[in-house]
């Protein structure tokens, strides 16, 4: 079944098509949610909410070539909504720590760590840093776009990205050292 046929069947609320559609895209979208969420549980909630929204709004989509970008956009919006819900409850910590450590071997470290370790490092970022990092580095949005989506200034987006990267490199370095020791 092609993507077009699958899309049309899902738009008719065909249960088998919906199951097939889910099976086809669940892994990639769940992986995306893992990047945005700070825990697996939050990622699963985000995934279910986003996927339900995809099924509800699937009838608005006509072009199959835009299916995956559209689904990613829906998931991104879901992650942003979750971020806004949780933003008042969180305190951004480890702020100054990020600028105190610079390593020169971060590229090597990044290449040597596993994907799960990278996800752990990303998930450990403060929510704002993690959102900006994902939107800019992974999704390719610009700072003005990120500022509009998150309701922050463009400069804030830039500074948060810089701090997120610095903090991430520090964490990866620590993880890498621990990993090397285990190796």
């Amino acid at each position: 079944m092609t993507d077009l046929e699958l899309l049309q069947a899902c738009q008719r609320n065909d249960p088998r098509a919906q199951t097939a559609f889910y099976e086809r895209f669940r892994g990639r979208l769940m992986g995306m949610c893992r990047r945005y969420a700070k825990s697996r549980a939050e990622a699963e909630d985000m995934f279910q909410e986003g996927f339900a929204r995809i099924f509800q709004q699937l009838h608005t989509l006509q072009q199959t070539e835009k299916l995956l970008p559209w689904m990613k956009r829906v998931m991104t919006n879901t992650a942003i909504n979750v971020y806004h819900k949780n933003s008042k409850q969180q305190a951004e910590t480890d702020y100054e720590e990020a600028f105190d450590h610079h390593t020169d071997d971060h590229l090597t470290t990044l290449a040597q760590l596993s994907t799960d370790e990278l996800l752990v490092a990303v998930a450990s970022l403060p929510d704002g840093y993690r959102m900006v990092f994902n939107l800019y580095v992974m999704e390719g949005y610009t700072h003005p776009e990120i500022g509009e989506m998150l309701g922050i200034a463009e400069g804030t987006s830039k500074s948060q990205l810089a701090r997120a990267k610095a903090m991430l490199k520090l964490k990866l370095t620590k993880i890498g050292i621990v990993s090397y020791e285990h190796v």
Binding site: Q18, R26, M30, R35, Q48, E49, A52, L118, M138, K165
Partner: protein, 483 residues
């Protein structure tokens, strides 16, 4: 770290995580489909006839209120109980003109026979005057033939009498004399005075009345003049006497009379509210509920959803009819019968606490994954509750003592409760706490219009559903009338 290093680092990071995939929970699809295929929350359909009736009632209340407000400009002030200054001036002018005409008219001073019959009073007073007990001078009836020279004078007299008649035709209670003294009583009093010795001692020369016609007429005329001279203010009250004697003034000349100062207009009388008033009110309202799942060991309720805040599915109404009794100037208590119709709908999903089935996946030779699966049910509640009860409220008018009215509206606060019984599936005795802040104003004929935003909060939760408990509360706008 330069820009190229930044780009490399980001590109490498993107490569590592861009295509990262992970597996969601095993029952994620069930949850997703349950959420995605959840039908829209049903709205309780209302009766078109009932909706129209409520609309008509509301429109009638509003139209009547506006009409009453426009029709009554001074609903609180009662009619004045004393003549106005204009009335007294008109009366004074009438008297002066009449007296002046009589004094200057030769025909009136010489012979009563010259008086035309047209100026004869035709009221019942005339009949009384011609009774055997009447005064001799009054018996002298005029002759029908009339001189041409008297016509202008007569016309002035007629005009003066018309002016007097206008005063008398004023609304009731505008002149004290019209209210309290009958014509017969005045004439009888006058005749009684004629027979007393007190008036015989009066000096005729000092009398303002000139006697030129008949000596036999001097005594009653003098007495009459003395009566007028003693109290000119009484002249106004004794207009009927004046009218009775006036055709025979051929024997009497009255000096100009200084009119008494106009009596200051009595202060406006504020209507005292009756101690007991009837009231009726209609309240369109929105119903809300505090919803909680019933604690159960074998059922788990999730995803409770309700209609939007101002959805039509929440619309209801309440009617009240009862009495209000004043306790003091600021406080009163009202009680009555209340009937409410509350509407609310809820949608939820529920599943058993224990899983209905399980999925077993073999991950490797030594590991299996066991995933419990639950069967979810979508439940809907579309509650339409009727509540019949008795309401009691204390009404406080904080500015009643200072008579603070803004364009006729007076604010007030109420607090109280309703106790009664739910109909339908609830069928339980319950009640509401209620409070409101409203304004009221008199709209005429004893009616008061009230506009009163109100809130009600249920006394207790209702457990008429096996899954959810609810506690209703309402917001509404009460529009009512009080008499």
């Amino acid at each position: 770290m330069n820009t190229s290093e930044h780009d490399d680092w980001e590109r490498l990071f993107r490569q590592r995580l861009a295509d990262f995939e992970d597996q969601p929970a095993a029952d994620a699809l069930t949850r997703i489909l349950a959420a995605a295929n959840m039908p829209p929350i049903p709205t309780v359909t209302s009766s078109p006839l009932l909706t129209r009736m409520l609309g008509i009632i509301g429109a009638v209340v509003v139209v009547l209120g506006v009409w009453f407000m426009q029709a009554t400009q001074h609903p609180i002030v009662l009619a004045q109980t004393t003549p106005s200054i204009q009335d007294i001036e008109l009366l004074g002018a009438t008297l002066r003109n009449g007296f002046k005409t009589a004094r200057e008219s030769k025909s009136l001073n010489t012979d009563s026979k010259m008086l035309p019959s047209a100026v004869h009073p035709t009221s019942e007073v005339m009949a009384a005057v011609e009774s055997p007990n009447s005064i001799p001078v009054l018996r002298d009836s005029p002759k029908p033939n009339q001189s041409e020279k008297t016509t202008p004078v007569i016309s002035e007299i007629a005009t003066a009498q018309n002016n007097i008649a206008k005063v008398y035709q004023a609304p009731k209670q505008r002149l004290l004399i019209a209210k309290n003294i009958t014509k017969e009583e005045k004439l009888r009093t006058f005749q009684d005075d004629m027979t007393t010795d007190n008036h015989k001692t009066l000096d005729i020369n000092k009398s303002p009345i000139d006697f030129r016609n008949n000596e036999s007429n001097q005594q009653p005329a003098t007495l009459f003049a003395a009566e007028l001279n003693q109290n000119q203010a009484m002249l106004i009250n004794e207009l009927e006497i004046f009218r009775a004697v006036r055709p025979y003034q051929k024997t009497v000349l009255l000096s100009p009379i200084t009119m008494p100062e106009a009596t200051p207009t009595a202060p406006a009388v504020v209507r005292e509210r009756p101690s007991i008033n009837w009231f009726v009110a209609v309240t369109p309202l929105y119903t809300y509920q505090q919803i909680a799942p019933v604690q159960s060991d074998n059922r788990y309720v999730e995803q409770i959803q309700t209609p939007n805040t101002f959805s039509g599915g929440r619309a209801g109404w309440r009617t009240q009819i009862g009495i209000e009794r004043g306790l003091s100037k600021q406080f009163s208590i009202r009680a009555g019968l209340t009937i409410s119709r509350l509407r609310q709908s809820v949608q939820y999903t529920s599943r058993g606490a224990s899983f209905d089935s399980a999925r077993v996946e073999v991950l490797d030779d030594q590991t299996i994954r066991l995933t419990p699966l639950f069967r979810r049910q979508i439940g809907q509640l579309a509650n339409v509750r009727h509540f019949v009860g008795i309401n009691t409220d204390v009404v406080w008018r904080p500015f009643a003592a200072s008579a603070m009215f803004v364009r006729g509206w007076q604010p007030y606060l109420t607090a109280g409760f309703s106790v009664g019984k739910y109909g339908g599936s609830a069928r339980s005795v319950s009640g509401f706490w209620q409070a409101s802040a409203g304004i009221e104003r008199a709209i005429g004929q004893g009616w008061w219009l009230r506009v009163e935003p109100s809130v009600q909060y249920g006394w207790q939760t209702l457990t008429d559903n096996p899954v959810l408990t609810t506690r209703p509360y309402t917001y509404g706008l009460t529009i009512g009338l009080k008499k």
